[in-house]
Amino acid sequence: MKKLLLALATSAAMLGFAASAGAQDKTKICFIYVGSKTDGGWTQAHDIGRQALQDHFGDKIETPFLESVPEGPDAERAIERMARSGCALVFTTSFGFMDPTIKVAEKFPDVKFEHATGFKSAPNVATYNSRFYEGRYIQGQIAAKMSEKGVAGYIASFPIPEVVMGINAFVHGAQSVNPDFKVKVIWANTWFDPGKEADAAKALIDQGVDILTQHTDTTAPMQVAAERGIKAFGQASDMIKAGPETQLTAIVDTWGAYYIKRTQQLLDGTWKSEQVWDGLKDGILTMAPYTNMPDDVKKLAEDTEAKIRSGELHPFTGPIKKQDGSDWLADGEKPEDKVLLGMNFYIAGVDDKLPQ
C-alpha cells in the first residue's frame, strides 16, 4: 500500500510530464516551466505558446513539459531528464534556469536548447527574450497620466537585469509625462506566491500609491487593486478577468510565433544558436487593450506604441543619467543591447535603493 501511495505521489508530481510514449518519428519539443501552467501570468503565456506550436505542427511533433520546476539545483535534474528522454529542442523558460541549461547542454551536444531571458549561450544553446521594457515605458506614461497622487507601486521579483530594466523603463516613461513622478518598489524575492504578492500590494496601497504594477507571476496584486479601488497593470498574460474595472493594460507575452519559427528551423535543419531579442514590432509581446482610461490617455499610449513599433522612439534615449548622478547616455544616444541585458543600475529618478 505504501509503495502504491508513493507511486501515486510520484506520478502526481509528474502530471505535467505529458505522455511520451508516442510514435518515435515525432520530433519532441520540450518545455521547462518555473510555475504552474495555469498561473494566469508568465508560465501560462509560455504554455499558450506551446499549444500554438502543437496546433501548428499537429502530428509531426509532441510537446512534453515539466511545470513548477524550482530554480536552482533541481532545475538541472529536470532539464537533464528532458534531454535524456529524447527531446530534440528544449525551451527553458525562466531566468534562473540559465546555468543549469548551459551545464546540461554541455553533456548533450546533439540536443538543442533555448533559454528565455538569459545572457549565456553555447553552440547548442540559443537565448530568446522579449523587449518587455517597451511595454513598461508605455505603462509608465499611462501611470503618470492616471495617478492623482503621482506615486505608483511596483512589486518586483528579483534584482536581475530584466527586472531592473523594467523599473527603469517604467520610471523613465512616467517621468517623460510628469517629471516629479515617484515609484515605490517592493522586492518580493519570489516569482510566485499569491499571498506574499497580495501582502506587498496591500503594503504599497496602504502607503498611498494609487497605481500598481507588478513583475511577479500571479493575479493576486490585480485582485487586491480591484478590491481597494485603484488601477493596475497586468503582467505576462492579460489579467483583465481578475480586474475588469482595474486593469489599464497588460504586457502580454506572445511566444507562439517564435516557438513555431524556431521549430520549423529545427525541422528544416537550419536551426542555429542565436541571441534573439524581439520587441513589439516582431509580435513577441503585445499590449492588452487599453481599458479603464480616458480617451486622451489611450491616445497617448497608442501613439507611443506606434512610435516604438516603427523604431521612431527607443524608450531609453539620452540624455539619461544614472542614479548616482554619473552620465549614462548622451543627448540622443541609445544604449547597446548588451548594456541593457546586463543592466544592474538604476537611472536617475528612481527613488529606491537597488539590492546588490
Binding site: 500500500m1 501511495l5 510520484t10 502526481a12 504552474s36 534584482p159 518598489v185 522586492w187 496602504d206 502607503q207
Partner: protein
C-alpha cells in the same frame, strides 16, 4: 484608517493560516505522530473550499468543505502510518506531493475565476471599541475560529482528561497502552484534527487571503507551520505568538521596503524566519521545560502487542 491599523489588519490575514495549520500539527505531534503532509492537506483544503464555494455560492459551505477535505485526506496518512505502520516521515512527504498534484487536477477548472470573499462579521458592541474593535471584532469567521481553537486546544491539552491521555500517548505510547488507553484510536483522532485544521487554513487562503484558486498557492506555508510547532515547543499560546510574530515581521519588511529605508531586501526577506526562530528559542531556552514539552514518542511507530 491609520497606517498602523492597516498593517495590523494585513498581519492578521497573513498569520491566521500559519496559526491554524500549526495548531493542528501541534495536537498531532502531542499524540506522538509526525505528519509532514501539512502543506498537502492545506492545499487540498484550499482547492476544495474554493470549489465548494463556487458550486454553492456560499463561502461557509466552502469552509466546511475545506475542513472535511483536510480531515479526510489526513485519514489516508493515518491509515498508512497507524494501521499499516508505514514510516511517518516518508508518508508525510508523499502526502504533500500527492496533495499538490491532486489539488492541481481538481483546481484546473477553477483557474482564473474570481472567488467569493468570506464576509466580515461585526460583533455587536465589541466592534465599536476604538482601534481594537475594527481590528479584532470586525473579522471573518475563520479568524474567530483560529483564536477560539488556540484557547480551546490549550485548555483541552493541559486541563482536560482527554488531553492528558493525548500527551501520555505522545510521551510513552507503550505505557499508555499498558494503562488501557486506546493509542491507535486516539492517534487517528489527533491526525484528523491536524488535517481538519490544515484544511481550514487552506480555506482561509482561497477564501480570505487571496480569494482565488492558483495551483501551489500555499507556497510553502505548511512547512513554516511545521517549524512553528517545534520552535513554540508544542505550546498553543506560544505558537499563536510565533505565528503573529512571523506575520508581523513579514509585513513590516514589505513596508520598510516601500518606505525606501535602503535596507537590503534579501536581508529583510530573511528577517521573519530569523526573528521568529530567535524569539521562540529564547522563550523556550530552558532545556528542562523543553524536554518536558517534547513528545518523547514523536515519530516512533507503535504496534500494540496482543
Amino acid at each position: 484608517m491609520g497606517i498602523v491599523e492597516a498593517i495590523l489588519l494585513t498581519v492578521i490575514t497573513a498569520a491566521t493560516p500559519l496559526v491554524l495549520a500549526a495548531l493542528g500539527e501541534l495536537v498531532t505531534e502531542r499524540a506522538g505522530v509526525l505528519n509532514l503532509g501539512v502543506e498537502g492537506m492545506m492545499i487540498m483544503g484550499a482547492v476544495l473550499a474554493f470549489a465548494a464555494t463556487q458550486a454553492t455560492g456560499s463561502p461557509y459551505v466552502g469552509i466546511l468543505a475545506g475542513i472535511a477535505g483536510g480531515a479526510l485526506f489526513s485519514l489516508l496518512f493515518g491509515f498508512l502510518t497507524l494501521t499499516l505502520v508505514a514510516n511517518q516521515v516518508a508518508t508525510g512527504l508523499a502526502l504533500t506531493i500527492l496533495g499538490l498534484g491532486i489539488s492541481g487536477q481538481i483546481g484546473e477548472a477553477y483557474v482564473g475565476m474570481s472567488g467569493t470573499k468570506l464576509p466580515q462579521i461585526a460583533i455587536p458592541l465589541l466592534s465599536d471599541i476604538p482601534y481594537l474593535g475594527s481590528l479584532l471584532f470586525r473579522q471573518d469567521l475563520i479568524f474567530y475560529m483560529s483564536i477560539a481553537l488556540v484557547a480551546g486546544t490549550s485548555w483541552f491539552l493541559f486541563k482536560s482528561r482527554a488531553g492528558l491521555k493525548i500527551r501520555a500517548i505522545g510521551d510513552n505510547h507503550a505505557s499508555a497502552h499498558a494503562l488501557g488507553i486506546g493509542v491507535i484510536r486516539i492517534r487517528y483522532l489527533a491526525v484528523m484534527f491536524g488535517g481538519a485544521c490544515a484544511g481550514l487554513a487552506g480555506a482561509q487562503l482561497s477564501l480570505v487571503y487571496t480569494p482565488q484558486w492558483v495551483e501551489n498557492m500555499s507556497a510553502g506555508r505548511g512547512w513554516i507551520a511545521l517549524a512553528l510547532v517545534v520552535f513554540a515547543s508544542w505550546r498553543p499560546w506560544r505558537l499563536l505568538a510565533g505565528g503573529y510574530l512571523f506575520g508581523a515581521v513579514s509585513i513590516s519588511q514589505l513596508h520598510a521596503q516601500a518606505l525606501g529605508l535602503g535596507i537590503p531586501s534579501q536581508f529583510l526577506s530573511a528577517l521573519p524566519y530569523a526573528a521568529t526562530v530567535v524569539v521562540l528559542v529564547l522563550i523556550s531556552h530552558n532545556r528542562r521545560t523543553t524536554l518536558i514539552n517534547t513528545p518523547a514518542s514523536l515519530g516512533k511507530p507503535f504496534v500494540p502487542d496482543r
